[in-house]
């Protein structure tokens, strides 16, 4: 191919670039259209959320965690609440767990459909982008019905949820589940049987199982590379323990996993189906009772204030494991709060996936881990003279354990 550019020139992409819905700066060293080397600099969206959180009480923080990111805010809030609940020894009522699960799965549906649309857009396939986002509106409507807002649902609170799902809402939910069940076959066909998409995605952005493991990837990114891991299955939270949740693997659809962009599409689309099934199970099994441990906010705050200790809350966000570490020391505000979001775990895999690929494929590969920098742009915070050595060790211990388990 003819190419007039000098060897080894570099193309900066971002922080504002149509392919990246969020600010991040990539620097590619190119040889013609081929990516030789990649570097990226996140941190453009850093807002100091952890720092702010340590100045607020848990009841306020849940609204902040919602806004770590508007796409999978529920996951963060859930992980944070779980951490606080563990520290403060709060018992969430059964029904609260089910409501949390339903909301979390709706979030997954809308997030995966959102991703599918973005991916189609990156591929220059605007029709599918429009289609995915059009059908996504169904879940947005249900979410709005259940929570009162389309994004930043604000439904999860420490100790449970702020709103119950009432019987009269069930038919609407049921209708949306049927809508997605009817639709899914078509979506799979349109996305996975399209020659142009296959051409663009097969063997693009490859990452094999070993690399996925070594790079500590999580969520659909890891599963598409053949790593069988899913927090919902491995250490169930909310109502997942009662439900039948198996990690979705690409080989379920195709018989084998390549670990490429295509497989990541497969996993996400199949997870939409899985979420529908989970919600249906929840509706069937929902126990009666309250949904919140303590509805009086001042009392709730008082409970938190008494808590001392540390805990980790883990949640399978749509993009993979989100982990919140909270340490309380008898004040209303947490002493330490650390967020490890899924994109943070996944982003190093970019370096592997992008090297040697075509410039044209950069957007879809970048998108294939479903990145969102909002939750990822972070710093380690040292507060009150205590360093967070413990945090790091804790994190490391956990990751080593996880690795061992996976290696077995």
């Amino acid at each position: 191919m003819s190419n007039g550019t000098k060897k080894g020139y570099s193309v900066p992409i971002g922080p504002i670039h149509p392919a990246l819905k969020e600010p991040i700066l990539f620097t590619f060293t190119m040889n013609g259209e081929k990516v030789e080397e990649v570097d990226f600099a996140p941190g453009k969206a850093h807002r100091g959320i952890e720092w702010m959180g340590m100045r607020r009480n848990p009841v306020q923080i849940v609204h902040l965690t919602d806004r770590i990111c508007g796409i999978c805010g529920v996951s963060h809030t859930l992980a944070f609440s779980r951490a606080v609940e563990q520290v403060a020894e709060i018992e969430v009522p059964e029904r609260g767990h089910y409501v949390r699960t339903i909301i979390a799965e709706y979030e997954r549906i809308q997030s995966h459909l959102l991703w599918a649309g973005v991916a189609a857009h990156e591929l220059g396939f605007d029709t599918l982008f429009f289609l995915a986002w059009r059908v996504r509106e169904e879940s947005m409507d249900v979410i709005e019905l259940l929570t009162g807002n389309r994004v930043n649902y604000g439904i999860i609170q420490v100790g449970g949820v702020r709103r119950d799902i009432t019987e009269d809402q069930f038919p609407r939910i049921e209708a949306s589940l049927r809508y997605y069940e009817d639709l899914l076959g078509k979506m799979l066909e349109l996305f996975l049987h399209d020659t142009t998409i296959t051409m663009r995605c097969r063997n693009t952005g490859l990452m094999n199982r070993r690399e996925a493991l070594e790079l500590c990837t999580v969520g659909p990114t890891a599963r598409a590379s053949g790593l069988n891991l899913d927090v919902r299955q491995d250490s169930p939270y909310a109502a997942y323990g009662d439900l039948d949740v198996r990690a979705v693997m690409p080989e379920q659809y195709l018989g084998e996993a390549y670990g490429d962009v295509y497989d990541r599409i497969v996993v996400r689309l199949l997870e939409v189906k899985q979420s529908v099934e989970i919600i249906r199970q929840c509706l069937d099994m929902m126990p009666p009772g309250p949904v919140q441990f303590e509805t009086k906010i001042p009392k709730l705050l008082a409970t938190c204030k008494k808590a001392v200790g540390e805990a980790v809350g883990r949640v399978e966000a749509p993009r993979g494991e989100a982990l919140h570490y909270v340490r309380m020391d008898g004040h209303e505000n947490p002493q330490t709060w650390k967020v490890k979001a899924s994109t943070y775990s996944n982003q190093m895999s970019w370096l592997k996936m992008l090297r040697g690929e075509q410039l044209a494929d950069v957007p879809i590969i970048v998108a294939s881990i479903d990145p969102c920098m909002s939750c990822t742009d972070r710093v380690t915070v040292v507060r009150d003279g205590h360093s967070d050595v413990m945090t790091k060790e804790g994190l490391h211990r956990l990751s080593v354990e996880k690795t061992r388990r996976l290696m077995q």
């Binding site: 922080p15 504002i16 149509p18 819905k21 969020e22 600010p23 941190g43 453009k44 969206a45 850093h46 807002r47 100091g48 959320i49 720092w51 702010m52 100045r55 609204h63 902040l64 806004r67 770590i68 990111c69 508007g70 796409i71 805010g73 959102l114 649309g117 973005v118 982008f129 429009f130 986002w133 059009r134 996504r136 509106e137 947005m140 807002n149 389309r150 994004v151 930043n152 969102c372 909002s374």
Partner: protein
């Protein structure tokens, strides 16, 4: 600004995320999808600030993004319009006390229309566009 009727019939927007939580951004994207379809009004999302007439800014303007926001604004050809989408760009919102903010947006570049909400519904954004056009019509009237 040289305003004319021709201008507000075809507003091309460029979306700038100055460190938002994504909430507003996905609602902006949702707003261009079939259910809302602002292309009815000639509104189109474009990829280059040079092509854009309207700058949609989301987020509270983090320190890193401040200069870039300025630069993108400067790159846009006159006449141009800025819409600030979301509460946090208007006032900092939930991030009001962050140490890393240079915002809100109105402190960095002149804003023509604010769309409050966290996040605003897609239709609130469309409403913002309509109000922006109304403002243009008014300004044009004052000019002519």
């Amino acid at each position: 600004m040289r305003l004319s009727r021709a201008f507000n019939r075809s507003l091309w927007v460029f979306h700038f995320n100055s460190g938002s939580c994504n909430g507003c951004d996905i609602e902006i994207v949702a707003a261009i999808t079939p259910r809302y379809d602002p292309e009815r009004f000639g509104v189109r999302l474009v990829g280059s600030p040079k092509h854009a007439d309207v700058l949609l800014v989301t987020g509270p303007v983090t320190h890193d993004m401040r200069d870039r926001l300025r630069r993108v604004y400067d790159q846009m050809a006159e006449p141009k319009l800025v819409m600030c989408i979301g509460t946090c760009g208007q006032s900092g919102g939930v991030f009001y006390d962050s140490y890393n903010l240079d915002g809100p947006v109105g402190d960095v570049i002149p804003v023509d229309i604010y769309v409050p909400g966290c996040a605003p519904r897609p239709e609130a954004i469309i409403d913002g566009v309509v109000k922006a056009i109304a403002k243009l019509e008014r300004l044009e009237g004052e000019q002519g």
